[in-house]
Amino acid sequence: MTSEKLLSVENLRVLFNTRNGQTVAVENLSFSLEAGKVLGIVGESGSGKSVACYALMGLIPSPPGKIETGRALFHGKDLLQMSEAELRHTRGHKIAMIFQDPMTSLNPYMRIADQLIEVLLQHKKITKRAAREKSITALMEVGIQDAAKRIDEYPHQFSGGMRQRVMIAMALLAEPEILIADEPTTALDVTVQAQILALIKGLQKNHNLAVIFITHDLGVAAQMADDVLVMEKGRLVEQGTTETIFKNPTQDYTKKLLNAVLTSAKPVNSFAKRDEAPLLEVKNLQVGYASHSGSFFSRVKKFTRGVDNVNIRLYRGEILGLVGESGSGKSTLGRSIIRLIDAQSGELIFNGKNLLDLSPANLTDMRRDIQMIFQDPYASLNPRMTVFDTLAEPLLVHGLATQATVLDQVNELMDDVGLDRRFIRKYPHEFSGGQRQRIAIARAISLKPKLIVADEPVSALDVTIRAQILALLLELTQKHNLTMLFISHDMSVVRYLCDRVVVMQKGRLVEEGETEKLFSAPEQEYTRQLLAAIPTL
């Protein structure tokens, strides 16, 4: 393959005018893309990786966005200087894009057929009938079964992975030279992610496409890219071949990112007491939703089984990982343990008592002993309460603190989770995502609970922050001798944190075992699939 520069970007600088003045989204960025190669752009949120690519496509809303300087040469013409008409001719025709969230990226009001055909009608001299034929072929190529029939369906009739396939087919319809993929698998389940990555890789080879692959996930970048470009806060940190970046990174930030990738097993073992009676025993638990399906005007009751006959034992002092994809019932199980959802049948023996039999009054007492950490640190803190109020409330309500001691206790909690004591009078919106999650953790441990249910507590966080929060959780469980049910979709996180793992699929328990044993010798096919889907460096 000749190394021909297809696209070269020089000194790109993008600004955003905000309420509080200008912020630089991309600063002095230069890179080039060769024909038939995959360039991975890696960075955390706010690194400017997506903004840079949107700027090339003229997709930055302006105002507030503004491309201040730079050139982007594509076939000798500067994309940034093109007229709207020229850009339109390029977009979707020469350079196509796919996006992160396939659920919202297709127009829900239009049939798939119309959305595909319009690309061809816009860019090629072609009849409607021929465009339709071509679209059906494209759908077949991305692996949509029965494409001739399904092309006339609406997006909501497709699953998330299928919609991303449709997006890919749509992007490649006009035979572009460059495909820009913006986190195309982030919103998908791990096993689906593996399929979509393989599909993109295959199509890239077949069509000799140049691909810009934007991702926050180093594992995905390693698997997909020939060259990698690392960005932080709008600036280029380091670029080179995938091999050099991953084997011999020169910059501290790159090293930090690589260290945040969890390839190792759990560093220390907990003091799990397996010989004692379990702290929590889930027996034959059935949880279902009675949903009024459809809409307000028809009250058809639909019963969906979220958790189907599950048995789990959780021993004192251990961290049990609960793994599964979306729809596996893992969150439903977690929520039914803290009685946010009512179970239909079964038993939840906690500390010798069945939680499902407790009267409301006894339940209130029991709540002290089981606490939860939620996924979204933006939603899990009351936006109208200061950190002090948030942390003091449970202490005072349960009588664990008096007016005289509460300030000291809150300060101690702040120390515990590594937050500055000076911030206790601030409100949640004044903190970053990682800091908010620390506050939520402080709230959960404030009552000195016997059990913590953590529902995907790190999935909304950037990789480097994620590593810090995981380290904090590990430290706290050791220090306070906590027992934790850790719910996650991410196998590598589970491997880092948990002593034992339970795998769930479609509401049922698939496999359970010691973490290392399960990872090295999985017994079930589904577990093997999950493990195979972890991208490795």
Binding site: T104, L106, P108, Y109, E118, Q122, H123, Y154, G294, F297
Partner: protein, 311 residues
């Protein structure tokens, strides 16, 4: 879809019955009979009158008689205009009111929709600010202020258009229609802008732009269907408002429509007329809410499919 429509129609019937019943008993509970106002009527004439209008029957019988008549489209004789039945009066007043409402809503849509769409596309420019400020004024200028002002300016001072009547001289339908429609034009413009802005920020609009489609196609094909949904759900209540607004407009411009009859009936305590009109208005409002609901479902492929799946 058919089942859904049938279901909604069936749900509307009890509401209509409720309206009719409540209105009937409210009117009957009113202090004083319909003939009290007239100069002292001799008792024997009073008895005659009561007998003629079946006011001497027991209340439950009056109610059942009335309801069964209403179902057959007979609203009984007018108390005020003894020679006419309410049904006759209503059929005389109905066409102008419906025509006026139709013109008003057409005016509102023709002005409101393009303004709203344009303001959304040109957000934060003069094409957004100026029409939207004007729309705010439109909302704050009540019909009974706007009507007289328009009449004064175009009818009297400039003398361009007739000041009163309906279908009697050329152009006499213009001022009433604009007066009645302008508030709704303003609302529709604002609602449409909001709806379009919401849709234009969706991911699938970004997809459409990335496909290289023209702005016109993005707006008209991709955004419009979702963007006007809130406007359609507003049309139901808007029609109810239009009917109420027609009271004022018909009074100001002396349009011989139902709204004017209703207000006159209210002053004259013409009970059968009030009853008839109230039931009719309720019927119309429920009907238009129903239509708005149906159109909204029909525009949304997901809802539509769910309904079809259920039969």
């Amino acid at each position: 879809m058919l089942l859904f429509i049938l279901k909604r129609v069936l749900q509307a019937i009890p509401v209509l019955l409720l309206v009719a019943t409540v209105t009937f008993f409210m009117v009957r509970a009113a202090p004083g009979g319909p003939f009290d106002k007239d100069r002292a009527i001799p008792p024997e004439v009073m008895t005659q009158l009561n007998k003629r209008y079946h006011l001497d029957d027991p209340l439950w019988k009056q109610y059942l008689d009335y309801m069964s008549n209403v179902v057959r489209g007979d609203f009984g004789p007018s108390f005020k205009y003894a020679s006419h039945t309410v049904t006759e009066l209503i059929s005389a007043g109905m066409p102008p009111t419906l025509e006026l409402s139709l013109y008003a809503i057409l005016f509102a849509l023709l002005v409101g929709l393009p303004t709203g769409i344009l303001a959304a596309i040109k957000q934060n420019t003069l094409l957004d600010y100026v029409p939207m400020s004007t729309a705010m004024i439109g909302i704050c200028l009540p019909t009974f202020v706007l009507g007289p002002i328009l009449l004064l300016v175009f009818g009297i001072w400039l003398g361009w258009l007739p000041v009163a009547g309906w279908g009697q001289s050329p152009g006499d339908k213009i001022l009433p229609s604009i007066t009645l429609g302008s508030v709704y034009a303003a609302y529709i413009a604002r609602i449409c802008r909001g709806g379009m802005l919401e849709i234009l920020s969706q991911d699938y609009i970004r997809t459409a732009r990335a496909k290289g489609l023209s702005t016109a196609r993005i707006v008209l094909v991709h955004a419009l269907r979702g963007g006007i949904t809130p406007v359609i759900s507003f049309l139901g209540p808007a029609i109810a408002g239009l009917l109420a607004g027609s009271f004022v407009v018909e009074s100001i411009f002396q349009v011989p429509g139902l709204g004017r009859f209703y207000v006159m009936a209210a002053f004259n305590r013409d009970y059968t007329m009030i009853l008839g009109c109230t039931i009719l208005f309720a019927f119309l409002i429920i009907l238009f809410n129903l239509l708005a609901d149906i159109v909204q479902v029909w525009l949304n492929p997901k809802l539509r499919q769910e309904l079809n799946a259920r039969g």
